[in-house]
Amino acid sequence: MSQATVTHHHAHHFASADDEFEAAKQGMWVFLVTEVLMFGGLFVAYGTFRGMYPEMFHEAHKMLSVPMGALNTVFLITSSLTMAMAVTSAQKGLRSRTTGFLAATFLLAGCFLVVKYFEYMHKIHDGLLPAGFFTNHELTNPKAPLFFSLYFVMTGLHGVHVLIGMGLIAWIMIKNQKGYFSPAFYTPVELVGFYWHFVDLVWIYLFPLLYLVS
């Protein structure tokens, strides 16, 4: 299993490896704060327009496919689970198991994007596009393009996060294979985990807000 290992030395401005870990983690939390506020702005915009045009939201959301959205929710939640297990495995020093869970997470993220791709293609085909690009004739509500502006911006930004997450997961997977991590040092795995759980967290709200408007 653990053939080659690379020992991690904490940077000299930290008193200990633990200090370094705590500092890195706190940095991650601070970063996630900025993320909350970035998505937060979009959620406020969403709330504003939904409050102004409740009927339009109700009509427009029917154009989204609940099964697809639900499937994607399942993918993301399961990927959060495998990510958590990857962190546990890394903490226990089970290298190939860590790689396995990371690979599973990566694949689930890929599935999410594939589903999203089909959803987007479908919307594009039906002319359910933001603002001036909107050409759909089924939806008569003059404000309907607004819903799709929100839909594409919100899921688009989230999708970019998924893509970045996949890159990060691939990166730690390779590092893990090269033996960079051990029970004494697994900071990157844990922090990418944080990021990934956050991506899941955003989707947990996006799904009911966009797909299940009542």
């Binding site: 870990f21 506020l37 939640i77 959060s80 967290l201 709200y205 009911p208």
Partner: protein, 374 residues
Amino acid sequence: MSHDKHHGNDHKGGGHHFILSYKSATLVGLTLLVLTAVTVGIAGIDLGRFNFFVAMVVATIKALLVALIFMNLRNDKLENGIIFGASFMFLAIFFVLTFADLFFRGDVYWKEKGQPFPPIAGVVGKPKFKKAWNQTPEILAHGKQLYAVQCVSCHGADGKGDGPAAAALIPHPRNFHSNEGWKNGRKLTMVFKTLKEGIPGSGMASFATLPAEDRWAVAHYVLSLNGPAEKDSAADFAKIGVDPNKEDAGGSEKPTIPVAVAMERMAEKDTIRVTTIRRPYLMKEGTAEGVGAQIYRTQCASCHGERAQGGVEVKNLGGFPNTIVKTSPIGNVDSGRFQEVVLKGLPGDLMPGHGEFSVSEIRELYNHVRTLKQ
């Protein structure tokens, strides 16, 4: 739970850091999936306003599970919890202040849906006639005026059924100088009924958009064109739902302005959706000149006059052929109506809608019009 970073060896995992067991992770994952199923399931049941509430509560439970267990916030240092929690606090402030402003400021100015609109000044005004079914010289004169605006195009200036549009209409418009061919009957109540309901399948449209007293007035007038009409019995009054012992013009009917009724109809036809407009709208009298004045001069003055005084005759080509409507002063129109009329316009070719105006443009326009009236 210890927050001592240097000696963090007392955490449940036994090692340096807390380790989440595979089993607990799986349990949390399964709970999250079950909650997802709950969210989808509940969305299918109609709980009214509670659907949204329940969905958000479930989402928040899920978010807490992810944050506390997967992200292990529950064993993390308190300060990290505070940092992350603070972002949600700021988000909450963002939400509350924005929404408070957006959805409650307008209440000061906006009428709730369902309140009757006041009649259009100039075209209608306050009801002038009590027991409008009794003929008086005043009501007859009023009917004559209305006839000239509303009916001439089909029934002709003299009421002979030979207006400019008559030739194209089959059946031809009624000749009021004859007793022949009356479908509803040549009685005051029946003309009133005709005006309310129209004659289906013919060019005679419903004039329910006219206030009841106007319909009485014009009915008096058309009947005055020929010999005495048949007397109305109590049963006739009952048929049209009017109690002749009451004072008001149309029995239980409230005068509705053409604008509101026509817009309702358009809503039925789905061409324009009339929703309760609850838009942000801040009115500070007379603050904005520039934009408002400019828009008014270029887009409104031609029909409403240099000083919003009205009195300009506008042809309505859309509704009934060539009706001419005199515009009324608009300086006193309340803000809600102002925005609605300006955004949607009036039916037919009366007044163009300006859906392209932004809220602030309309506000400036409104302020400008208010200053004009002085």
